[in-house]
Symmetry: C3
Subunit: 450 residues, 3 copies
């Protein structure tokens, strides 16, 4: 087990603090490898004791190979007068991520195939990558592109694509058992706020919160490049995967859309049901979607060879909002409130998972006499049983060792919290006993894929 210090150095207790972190990380030019990622992770080390891993280029990871490391110093297109008409120093989105070095002069006609813009969104710069095909290019607003006169241009991308390493961060927080809750976010996007920085900020704050509280589960927070990072981590940690009992990928959690939870491939795991239950009881608008093999790193965690209980929490749906993968996914697009409520929801889910278990009713034949234990209204005959009393009755009635508190919540229509409180009360009074196997033998262990 990791020896990660359990001491949390920073504090991201408020939405403003999370937002400030997003703002600080915004200018860095991240990619799936390189110094932008290192710089980002080093900043996070001031918040949480992140362990930074370096995996050499060329390392085989399942069907893939860790790519060469990419770094960039500068990039521009100069017009004939020598002035920068496209300038990496203005926005790191201007260069196609993973562009190979180039420095030459060429006509607009020859340059044109290397230029990417969005005619529908004339003021936005698109975000493009070319990780696995050695190429180069620039992204610019359609307005900029349209204004370029014919003529010769100087094109320069001062980048390097060389053997190096892939960098990722990991924070393991030990709990009472080896069984883990996994939280994963991607760290591979340059100046995009909702897409990567929101998840980074929320995961960091959540890690601080988790580390400061008692817990049964161990927790593992991954800050990894999308796709290749998840694949690399899984390839290096195959033996850990079976310990991951629940997991969630955080991505796009900072914008102002309602929550969207995407279920794991299995579709009915405890974490799926926990998110569904808490979102329904939140009274807030939200969307629940079934698993599909398109999206973020849930694709890897839910690949058939792993099939982990990993869902995804987002807000604006992946790829369906216009700001997605453009310069409009900027600081205005995310809010402190959204970040803080994301952390709050995940905290509630973890609290549910921590306290979900099955109980055995120790007085299962008829109802036990609640009155003599102070669990029942004193004067009988009134027309309505209170909410807490209903929770007590449901907890007693369904606690035959086969139903978890979440099962009881789902069947009764009551909120988990009330049932948990009722079960605690009944446990104190000696009427319920926690069944040991609940935690160690996951209720969904027997559920095979699909």
């Amino acid at each position: 087990m990791s020896s990660s210090a359990q001491i949390v150095m920073g504090s991201l207790a408020t939405g403003e603090e999370m937002f400030a972190l997003v703002k600080e990380l915004y200018p860095i030019c991240r990619s799936i490898t390189g110094n932008g990622v290192r710089q980002t992770l080093q900043r996070l080390q001031r918040e949480i004791p992140l362990r930074i891993h370096e995996v050499p280029s060329g390392t085989p990871v399942f069907d893939w190979t860790v790519p060469k490391e990419w770094n960039i110093r500068d990039a521009y297109i100069k017009d004939s007068s020598g002035s920068r008409v496209v300038d990496f120093r203005n926005s790191n989105l201007h260069v196609v991520n993973y562009s190979i070095p180039v420095h030459s002069r060429m006509s607009l006609a020859d340059l044109r195939p290397h230029l990417h813009a969005l005619p529908d969104r004339p003021d936005w710069i698109p975000y493009r990558t070319s990780y696995y095909k050695e190429d180069w290019g620039f992204c610019l607003s359609h307005r900029q592109l349209s204004a370029l006169p014919d003529g010769e241009y100087e094109v320069c991308i001062d980048s390097s694509l060389e053997p190096g390493s892939l960098t990722y961060g990991e924070f393991f927080i030990g709990g009472e058992t080896e069984q883990e809750i996994l939280v994963s976010c991607h760290i591979c996007h340059p100046s995009l706020c909702n897409d990567n920085l929101s998840g980074i900020a929320a995961a960091t704050a959540l890690a601080q919160q988790v580390a400061s509280r008692p817990r049964r589960y161990s927790y593992r927070f991954l800050f990894i490049p999308g796709t290749i990072g998840a694949i690399t981590w899984l390839a290096r940690n195959e033996s850990i995967a079976p310990r991951i009992r629940h997991g969630v990928v955080l991505s796009g959690v900072g914008d102002r859309s309602p929550f969207a939870y995407k279920k794991s491939r299995r579709g009915d795991t405890e974490i799926d049901r926990a998110f569904v239950h808490l979102l329904r009881f939140s009274g807030r608008e939200h969307r629940i979607t079934d698993f599909s093999p398109y999206g973020y790193d849930e694709r890897q965690f839910c690949s058939p060879g792993f099939n982990l209980a990993v869902g995804r929490l987002s807000r604006a749906p992946h790829g369906e909002f216009p700001e997605y993968h453009t310069s409009a996914d900027n600081l205005d697009f995310v809010s402190a409130e959204s970040l803080v409520s994301t952390v709050a929801l995940c905290g509630e889910v973890f609290a549910l998972l921590e306290s979900n278990c099955a109980f055995q009713n120790l007085s299962p034949k008829c109802e036990p006499q609640l009155g003599k234990r102070g669990l029942y209204r004193a004067i009988g005959g009134s027309a309505d049983a209170g909410h807490q009393e209903m929770a007590i009755l449901w907890a007693l009635n369904l606690s035959d060792g086969t139903n978890s508190l979440l099962d009881i919540a789902e069947r009764s229509g009551l909120d988990f919290q009330s049932l948990h409180k009722a079960a605690q009360l009944l446990e104190e009074k000696g009427l319920l006993r926690r069944t040991d196997q609940t935690f160690h033998a996951p209720s969904d262990a027997g559920r095979l894929s699909q």
Copy 2:
């Protein structure tokens, strides 16, 4: 097995006779113990050969203890002029049920905490109990309460709360097998009509009907105080419980609301499905509700240590109608028609359970030739097969030994009665054979809780 005589003495064949019984029992001050219950059961003995059981105070029954016996002779509040402003002789609801004896003088201010009224229903007297907390009190209409001038009052409750016994009635009617259908009603409420008297009258009439007809099942009718009576019976009859194959609690079956059937905890037992099927085919408005651990004695029969196939038949929903537990639950609130249709529905359910079984098609390869057996229209080619012919075809097609007639009714959308008639016809013609195990190995025996 009980040696209860199978001879029925009385006859409650009509709604008017049932209503007359309700009327006769109405004035009696019943409670969970005491002479009111005895008097009620003795009256029922003129209708059915009820066996009356007495269980001594102090007897442990699971988590409970049989309480002291309560009896009351008189109770009043006299004003300073000596006139009874609240008088038990006018309504036995005026005294909080199970009030300990009291005789003293006190100011209105001191008396006030002992007075219960319903501000929203100024003319109704509420019904209140204090079974398990030794206390006393009066119930009165809000109008009465508001009219009480300040001053001194004489308060008298001439009751006794002493070791005695809990009384209940039981009528067992043997059938071909030891497997039982249980009918239970509560007998512990004073002058409340729908709440307790309707169930008592309907159960009594139903017992007469059952006793007069041939039957496979044995039947057991319980007339018991709510909660403590069911607990006491179950504690004394644990060995009988496994024989209870189907059961229904009758409560609140005399008012004019549509039928409401509440499913057993298991939710899909044969009696649940029988009630659902017959109510749907009745064409009458009705409600089907899922089990919840709040209500009447289904709470005890469906506690996890028993988990019996016991549902509940009611009309106005438990606790949700304004007259509930007030003086407005009086003779006007119940009707002869409602009582008689309750008995009719239960009779249909029992008839279904009696005749539900699985058959084996003895000519399972292709359809047998119905025509040569007179089971098919003579002239072919007409556009529509008749209803009875469809029942014959369904019964043949699904009688592979795994489907009961009720299963076939549910899948075909036909009514049970037609399928039963078809199966009988096919049995006569040698095309179906009853599968023996159906009755003795309940189809839902393998279904575990939840």
Copy 3:
């Protein structure tokens, strides 16, 4: 295995050719036995190498007996002036099918019970039969019937009902395996177009199509008299029945109503799901109905002793359209377009069944790198993954050996064809391997009746 020649002689490639076949067969007076059936099958032998079977009258077939053979030469009712007021030569529907010979004079009053008409449809001649009750009768339009004056009539039915045989046609087309797809249609109706001729024409065209294409499955086409023909075939071929993996009864497939697919008794067999899937993706209006034991020969194939995976394809619902079993089911009632689209749909279903199988993802841990295999868009970051790419991702994600392509289509919401194409591509690239057991161990083998 049959040695039926695999050579197809005729060609019914177009709707017009099918319609022409219907037209040619229309005047023949078919019945469940007799020369009309033989003449029909002989005509079909010019299209496909049909084997004609003759089963002697009196042969026991399960609960039934092959009936006497019926043939008819002429039939009429002559009025007192000697002119034919009802004439078999005008329509073979005029005589009740299977009428015994009669030649006598009688009053209208005595004749009346033998006359059948449709008061609601005064111009139509009804179709009536009396196969299993020796009787005779005439069918005529209500207008004709109303116009008959009182008086004496000469009644003549020049038929014979004598020991002979029941005739049916069978065309077996061997495939790679012994497992079969069954196509059955009825051939027992006289001049009725949608009811019997549409199925005959579609089945013949489909047989030609199947015989001309490569196939895994063997196919068996049955041209049989309704009910008794199916029973006779099943009785003589009990050992073949277990090889029938999928089947469809074609009946009433020539009219202009939307397709109606009726599921097999099992309800979720592969052919049921194939029809449902393809009809849904067709974008065409259609109806899916659950199995019921009323209809055409699916009744026999789905009898509990066989319980085969045989559904039924129709258009206008059986027995629910006014033209059913009347002279209005004529050449105007069917269309070439309907016939051709029926054959097309069945062809698509068979293609789906031929190519449906389960695959094993050979790179199941994380996604394989599609880009290096040319399976992925080159420039990343664009907002939307294409349809074919989604099919590739779904095929990879769910190919864990337990899901067939149809399972994946159902879960993903994608069309089978795209998934099949994706799977083929992935198989070529070495990323998927067909699991051998899929075809030989049917995915629904374990599903019991009901």
